[in-house]
C-alpha cells in the first residue's frame, strides 16, 4: 500500500486521536504549570462613622476582585511552575513522614493515599484474576459440550455489566444488614459493619473487580485451551506425567502468551480503578488516583474546579503508566524488529 492511500485510510482516525487524545495531553501538561485565578486589586477607602461634632474617619485598604465593564470577575492565567505539584505531593511533609517511617501519616496526604490503594489494588487483583480465570477455564473444559454455552453466558454477565452498577449491586448485598452481611454475621457470630472501616471496603472492592474481570481471563484461556496440542498431551501421559506435571509443562507454556496478554490488559485497566470508589461510595476511606483527578475536576463548594491541580495529578498518573508499559512495549518492539529482519 502506498503511503498516500495509507494516509487516506488512516487519516480520519489519526485526526480524532490527535485532536482528542494527544491534544488534551499537551493541554494537561501546560495547565499543570499554570493557574487561572481571579485578579484582586487593593482599594483604599475612607470609612466614616458619624460621631459627636466631627465624623470619625479611618482609611482602610481592602482587597477585592477586579471587575470588567460587564461586572464580571477578571481572571488571569499565570505561570506558577511546580506549585500545583507541590500542593499535591507536599514533599516536605512527605519526606518527614518517610524519615519517621510512619506510613499512616503519609497517607494523610491524599495523593499518597490514592497511590497506595491503586498499586495494592492492581497487584492483588492480578494473580486472583489469572488464577480464577484459569481454574474456570480448566473446569469448563472438562464439562460436557451442551453445558458450556450456558456457563459462558452466565460468566459473561459480570464482564459486560456497567462497572458502577456492578459495584452498587455488591454494595446493596452488604450495606447495613444486607443479605450477605447477615450471612457473615450468622457464620462468625458477631456484629459486622462492612462500610465502617477502610479495609473491609477495600476487600469488597477487590472482590468486585475480580468478579468483574475473571470472566475475561476465563474466555481467553478457554479459547487457548482449545488449541493445546493433543498429541503432546497424550505422549506426556505415555511418559507417565501426572496431571499436575501436564498442567505445568504442557498447558501453561502453551497459554503463556495469553497469560501475558491478560496481565497487560488487566494492569492497564486496574491502574485506572475509579468506578469502585463511586459505586461503593468509599471516598471517605479509600480513594484511587483516577478518582483524585475526578474530584479535582468536579465543582467544589465555592463553585470552582481545581483544573491546575487535576492536571498535575494527571501528569503524575501518566508517569505511572509509562513505567507500567515500558516492559511490554519494549518486547513488542524487539519482536517487530525480528520480524522485519527475519
Amino acid at each position: 500500500m502506498k503511503n498516500r492511500t495509507f494516509l487516506v485510510f488512516v487519516g480520519p482516525s489519526l485526526f480524532l486521536m490527535f485532536l482528542f487524545i494527544a491534544g488534551p495531553l499537551m493541554s494537561v501538561a501546560w495547565q499543570s504549570v499554570h493557574i487561572t485565578r481571579a485578579v484582586y486589586e487593593e482599594v483604599e477607602t475612607e470609612l466614616c462613622t458619624p460621631g459627636f461634632l466631627t465624623q470619625k474617619c479611618t482609611m482602610e485598604i481592602r482587597t477585592q476582585p477586579q471587575l470588567d465593564e460587564n461586572g464580571r470577575q477578571i481572571s488571569e492565567t499565570v505561570f506558577v511552575g511546580f506549585e500545583s505539584y507541590k500542593n499535591l505531593l507536599q514533599p516536605q511533609v512527605a519526606f518527614e513522614n518517610i524519615k519517621e517511617g510512619s506510613w499512616a501519616k503519609l497517607s494523610n496526604i491524599n495523593f499518597f493515599k490514592a497511590l497506595r490503594f491503586t498499586l495494592t489494588f492492581t497487584l492483588i487483583t492480578l494473580p486472583l484474576v489469572l488464577g480464577i480465570g484459569l481454574l474456570v477455564a480448566l473446569t469448563v473444559n472438562q464439562v460436557i459440550q451442551s453445558l458450556r454455552g450456558p456457563i459462558i453466558f452466565i460468566s459473561l454477565l459480570p464482564f459486560v455489566i456497567t462497572p458502577v452498577i456492578g459495584a452498587l449491586s455488591f454494595r446493596w448485598l452488604f450495606v447495613g444488614d444486607g443479605i450477605l452481611t447477615a450471612l457473615l454475621e450468622w457464620w462468625l457470630e458477631r456484629d459486622i459493619a462492612m462500610f465502617a472501616q477502610g479495609w473491609t471496603i477495600e476487600v469488597l472492592m477487590l472482590s468486585y473487580r475480580v468478579w468483574h474481570v475473571a470472566p475475561f481471563a476465563f474466555i481467553v484461556f478457554y479459547a487457548g485451551l482449545q488449541t493445546v496440542n493433543r498429541d503432546t498431551l497424550e505422549s506426556a501421559i505415555v511418559d507417565g506425567a501426572t496431571r499436575w506435571q501436564r498442567l505445568k509443562l504442557v498447558i501453561l507454556p502453551h497459554l503463556s502468551p495469553l497469560i501475558l496478554f491478560v496481565s497487560i490488559i488487566h494492569l492497564m485497566d486496574s491502574y485506572r480503578v475509579f468506578e469502585e470508589v463511586i459505586g461503593f461510595r468509599s471516598q471517605a476511606h479509600v480513594i484511587s488516583l483516577q478518582w483524585l483527578t475526578y474530584n479535582f475536576l468536579t465543582l467544589d463548594e465555592t463553585g470552582n474546579r481545581m483544573i491546575s491541580r487535576a492536571s498535575a495529578s494527571s501528569m503524575l498518573t501518566m508517569i505511572g503508566i509509562v513505567f507500567l508499559l515500558l516492559f511490554p512495549l519494549r518486547s513488542t518492539w524487539r519482536e517487530h524488529q525480528k520480524r522485519r529482519s527475519g
Partner: protein, 382 residues
C-alpha cells in the same frame, strides 16, 4: 452423548476430581449470577421485604404480598412462557448461518414480542376478573410489584436519560466504526514502520485513564464560546453539556481499541481477495468497497458491540462533561443514591440499576458468540 466419552481413559478425570471440578464450577456460576439476580428480586419488592436480612423474605415477599401486590400462578406461567419463547427465538437466530438475510424479519418479530408482553398482562388481568379470586390459578403466589419501575420511568422521567443514552451510544458506535474500519483496514494492509508506530501509540493511549483526558478537555469545553466565536460567529454554543460533544470525545477515546480489534480482524481476511480486485484494475478504495465491505460485517458487528459497551457503561466522561439536564443513564443513577433518604428511594435506585442492566442482559443473550470472538481475537492474533 458427552464429549468426554471420546477422550482416552487416561485424560478423563477421576471421580473425586470430577466432583471437585464440578463443585467449583457450580460455585463460580452462582457467584457470577447472584448479585444481578438478587438486585432484580429486590427491585420487585416493597422496601421492608427488599432489605430484609432473611433471604426467604426477599424471595417470597410476604410484606409485599400482604400489601396487595402479588403475582398468581397464571401470571407466573405466562411470564415463563414468554421468556421460553423469546429464548428459543434467540437460539434460532444464533443458529442462522447467513447473518443479515432475514434481519428485518427478526427485528419485526422481536418488536411484536414486546407488544405481546403488554397483551399478555392485559389477558392475565381480564382472566383474573372473569374467574374471580377464588379460582385456584388466581390465588396470589409471590409478593411482587412493578411500582418502583413505574415510579422511576414515568414519574421521575428516567426515559429522558434513556433517550440521552440511546443518542450518545448510537453516535459513538457509528462514528467509531466508520472511522475505525477505514483505519483498521489500512493498518492491516500496510507493513510500514508508520503502521507499527501508530499501533504502539494507540496502545499507550488505550492505557490512559479517562480522567487525564477529561482534565485536558474541561477548560476548553467550558470556555469554548470564547475561542470558537472567531470561527463560528455569535451563534457558537458552549461545548460543555452538549451530548454530541460527548459523542465525539467517547468515539475518539475508543479509537485505539477499535483500530486494534478491527486490524486483527482484517488480517484474517486473505490478502489475495483484494489483490485479485487490484489486478482487475480497481484502486485500493474500490477494492475496499467492492471486495472487503461485503465480507467485513461480522468483524464490524463485534467491534460495534465493544464500542457500545464503552459508551453505555461510561460514567466519568458523561458525569464531568454533561450537566444534569442532559445526563445519560449511568451518571444519573448517582442522583438516586445521593437522595437515598427513605427506603422507597433506595428500592427505586435498585430499580433504576436493574433497568440499566436489562439491555446488557439481552445483549449478551443475543450476541454471545460475537462477544466471545471479540475477546479472544486480540489475544490469539496478538
Amino acid at each position: 452423548m458427552s464429549e468426554s466419552s471420546f477422550l482416552p481413559k487416561s485424560l478423563q478425570l477421576s471421580k473425586s476430581l470430577k466432583l471437585l471440578s464440578n463443585g467449583f464450577l457450580s460455585i463460580w456460576c452462582l457467584i457470577a449470577v447472584f448479585p444481578l439476580l438478587w438486585i432484580t428480586l429486590m427491585s420487585l419488592k416493597y422496601p421492608l421485604d427488599a432489605f430484609s436480612a432473611n433471604p426467604l423474605v426477599v424471595i417470597f415477599g410476604p410484606g409485599t404480598l400482604s400489601a396487595g401486590a402479588s403475582i398468581n400462578f397464571f401470571d407466573l406461567l405466562l411470564v415463563i412462557l414468554w421468556v421460553v419463547v423469546a429464548f428459543l427465538g434467540i437460539k434460532r437466530w444464533q443458529a442462522e448461518k447467513n447473518l443479515g438475510s432475514k434481519n428485518w424479519l427478526y427485528l419485526g418479530i422481536s418488536i411484536g414480542w414486546l407488544f405481546a408482553a403488554v397483551a399478555l398482562t392485559e389477558l392475565s388481568a381480564t382472566l383474573r376478573e372473569q374467574l374471580g379470586a377464588d379460582f385456584f390459578l388466581s390465588t396470589p403466589l409471590l409478593g411482587m410489584t412493578t411500582e418502583h419501575f413505574q415510579s422511576v420511568w414515568i414519574e421521575q422521567e428516567f426515559y429522558q436519560q434513556f433517550f440521552n443514552s440511546l443518542f450518545v451510544t448510537t453516535g459513538v458506535v457509528s462514528i467509531s466504526l466508520t472511522v475505525g474500519t477505514l483505519a483498521g483496514y489500512g493498518l492491516a494492509r500496510s507493513g510500514s514502520n508508520w503502521a507499527f508506530w501508530i499501533l504502539m501509540t494507540a496502545l499507550v493511549f488505550r492505557a490512559l485513564p479517562h480522567s487525564v483526558l477529561v482534565s485536558g478537555y474541561l477548560p476548553w469545553f467550558i470556555n469554548s464560546a470564547e475561542w470558537l466565536r472567531p470561527i463560528f460567529g455569535e451563534a457558537t454554543l458552549t461545548l460543555y453539556g452538549q451530548p454530541w460533544a460527548i459523542i465525539v470525545v467517547l468515539a475518539s477515546i475508543n479509537q485505539p481499541f477499535t483500530i486494534w480489534m478491527l486490524r486483527s480482524f482484517f488480517q484474517n481476511i486473505p490478502r489475495e481477495l483484494d489483490e485479485a480486485a487490484r489486478i482487475d484494475g480497481c484502486s485500493h478504495g474500490e477494492a475496499f468497497v467492492r471486495v472487503i465491505v461485503p465480507v467485513m460485517w461480522p468483524g464490524v458487528l463485534t467491534a460495534g458491540l465493544f464500542s457500545f459497551l464503552l459508551a453505555y457503561n461510561d460514567y466519568l466522561v458523561a458525569a464531568l462533561l454533561l450537566d444534569a439536564q442532559n445526563q445519560t443513564m449511568v451518571p444519573a443513577i448517582s442522583g438516586y443514591f445521593n437522595r437515598e433518604t427513605t427506603s422507597t428511594d433506595q428500592v427505586e435506585a435498585v430499580a433504576a440499576a436493574v433497568s440499566i442492566t436489562a439491555p446488557l442482559f439481552v445483549l449478551v443473550m443475543v450476541f454471545q458468540k460475537q462477544l466471545v470472538s471479540g475477546l479472544t481475537q486480540g489475544a490469539v492474533k496478538g
